[in-house]
């Protein structure tokens, strides 16, 4: 696991540099609200990286458990904001105490044929069945659709991050943990890079009504730098730098739109953040919003091109 050790050193150096930069800015301009928020965010990054790092070092079991916990935290934030009625109590209990554990058990068992259909097929039928028996029809479609959405985003999508652990890419003999690390670093890195590019050059807003802080300059600069970051981290993947960079670019774009979609959900429900747990960042879903969409696409791109159809596409890459 020399790759993982090298990654820890690189991440620690990056965060160290960020903490130092924030300290220097504070000395220059004093403790303004911006500097305080920046410091809070960097401190939270330290905690998040240490928690992820420990889980990665402990292996697949710990990594799956960590993401199961993150799913729980995200599901809790999501379902707190969705419309529901007392008649949905059993449906909600099912979501938390059956759907979530079953999905992660299937991930742990590497049971692809089940974990890809359990929530879109089985849960899709079970949730409304549990609620319809209680006879409360007012807002039924809205309630069911929002609960299903909560499960898709919080459990189905998030569980595709640890699903990368067992992706059997021919010729890749390193740990699947590295692919998880690649995805998380590229998407989160893209988020930070978009923020930095946006602060420096940002003028033209992408979707002013949905997310006033997202600009075209930030988006283009951020995703292109994320592609470079991905290319530089090719040694975590089975691919040469160009392919790794291309995949990183796709993940960054998808991550951007994931963030935008979930911002629209927040606007709809009239909140600024999903929660208050992570200081400076908001809730768990505020930090994971890009990852949820990117994980799904990254997993299926890898699986389609390199696991199920490698002969068809190995000429291209």
């Amino acid at each position: 696991m020399t790759e993982l050790a090298a990654l820890f050193v690189l991440v620690a150096l990056t965060l160290g540099a960020a903490s130092l930069a924030a300290h220097l800015i504070r000395n220059r301009v004093g403790p303004t609200a911006f500097v305080e928020n920046l410091t809070q965010r960097i401190d939270a990054w330290w905690v998040m990286c240490i928690v992820l790092g420990v889980a990665f070092a402990l292996g697949p079991g710990a990594t799956i458990l960590l993401f199961a916990f993150l799913s729980f935290a995200v599901l809790r934030e999501f379902l707190t904001l969705t419309r529901r009625s007392r008649a949905d109590h059993y449906a909600l209990i099912f979501a938390f105490f059956v759907a979530l554990p079953v999905q992660y058990l299937a991930i742990w068992q590497d049971w692809y044929g089940f974990f890809t259909v359990f929530i879109p097929v089985w849960t899709f039928m079970i949730l409304p069945t549990l609620s319809v028996l209680r006879g409360q029809t007012e807002g039924f479609l809205t309630r069911m659709a929002e609960t299903q959405w909560a499960l898709m985003v919080s459990v189905f999508c998030v569980s595709h991050v640890p699903a990368l652990l067992f992706l059997d890419i021919p010729g890749f003999d390193k740990s699947g943990v590295l692919l998880v690390a690649f995805l998380v670093i590229v998407v989160q890195g893209s988020d930070v890079l978009q923020y930095i590019w946006g602060k420096m050059l940002g003028r033209t807003k992408v979707a002013p009504r949905t997310s006033p802080s997202k600009t075209w300059e930030g988006l283009i600069g951020g995703t292109l730098s994320a592609a470079l970051l991905g290319a530089a981290l090719f040694w975590l993947t089975p691919f040469p730098p160009l392919t790794a960079g291309l995949l990183a670019f796709v993940c960054a774009i998808v991550g951007f739109f994931g963030g935008l979609v979930l911002s629209a959900v927040k606007r709809d429900r009239g909140v600024k953040d999903w929660g208050t747990t992570i200081e400076g960042h908001g809730g768990f879903l505020d930090r994971l919003d890009g990852v949820v969409f990117a994980a799904l696409i990254f997993f299926h791109l890898l699986r389609f091109f390199w696991v199920t159809n490698p002969e068809t596409f190995n000429i291209v890459f």
């Binding site: 729980f72 809790r76 934030e77 379902l79 707190t80 419309r83 529901r84 007392r86 109590h89 909600l92 209990i93 938390f96 105490f97 007012e138 807002g139 809205t142 009239g270 929660g275 208050t276």
Partner: protein
């Protein structure tokens, strides 16, 4: 000696049960606490909260500091908390609740007198002034007059309005398994009611308190955008009480 050991064992059991209940409340309801009031000082307080769930008392209690918990007694229904030995242990032993008799006909003690006695002994109170659990669609039931009589007899009290949001979603009436959603507890700014010589102002006083409570609810911060399915807000809830 035997009695001493017994009572200290009892105290250990009460402390342990208190810690377990606090832990469960935090794990299940993940309360987000918004504090717009200073910590409990020398002036006794009455925390008045909306009542939508059986777990309201536990949640407020769990969100107070350990120091505050020793000095705060919830006001609760005697028939509920004396029903079984476990409830009696939690109600009397852990919460040190002021247990009042709900049915006026069978009463042996006056609830307001019981509460005043607790205040005079230096305790603060948690009170649900609606008098019963709100299971309807309106956000708050009309307040009972007990809080008015209390504020009149002890004019230097502080009243702290509290709003509990979403706990009835966690554990609706009649359900056993809670859904772990996030609750929000807002402790509003203290009110110092000076009711000396304010005879006959009961309706206005109670309406004012209700308004201070409702102002802490999410609908209260954001009346311009009512959620889908919410009844339209009345134009002026105070209107009827104005002379």
């Amino acid at each position: 000696m035997a009695i001493d050991i017994r009572s200290s064992l009892g105290r250990i059991a009460q402390t342990a049960a208190g810690a377990v209940l606090t832990g469960i409340a935090h794990a299940v309801a993940a309360p987000r606490v918004v504090r717009l009031c200073p910590p409990l000082g020398a002036t006794p307080r009455i925390y008045i909260a909306n009542h939508t769930s059986n777990a309201d008392t536990v949640l407020i209690w769990a969100c107070l500091s350990r120091r505050e918990r020793r000095r705060v007694r919830p006001v609760a229904a005697a028939d509920y908390w004396l029903k079984s030995p476990l409830r009696r242990f939690i109600g009397k032993g852990v919460f040190n609740a002021v247990l009042i008799e709900r049915n006026p006909e069978d009463r042996t003690q006056d609830p307001v007198a019981q509460m005043t006695a607790a205040i005079d002994a230096g305790f603060s109170l948690i009170l649900f002034p609606e008098g019963r659990r709100n299971e309807g669609e309106v956000p708050l039931l009309p307040l009972k007059s007990g809080i008015y009589h209390l504020a009149r007899s002890r004019p230097d009290l502080e009243i702290v309005p509290v709003w509990i949001e979403n706990l009835n979603g966690v554990l609706p009436r009649g359900e056993v398994i809670p859904v772990p959603l996030i609750c929000t507890l807002t402790f509003g700014p203290p009110i110092s009611p000076d009711l000396r010589g304010a005879e006959g102002e009961k309706a206005r006083f109670l309406a004012g308190l209700a308004e201070r409570m409702l102002a802490l609810s999410p609908a209260g911060h954001d009346r311009s955008t009512p959620a889908v399915g919410d009844p339209p807000a009345p134009a002026d809830p105070q209107g009827g009480a104005q002379p």
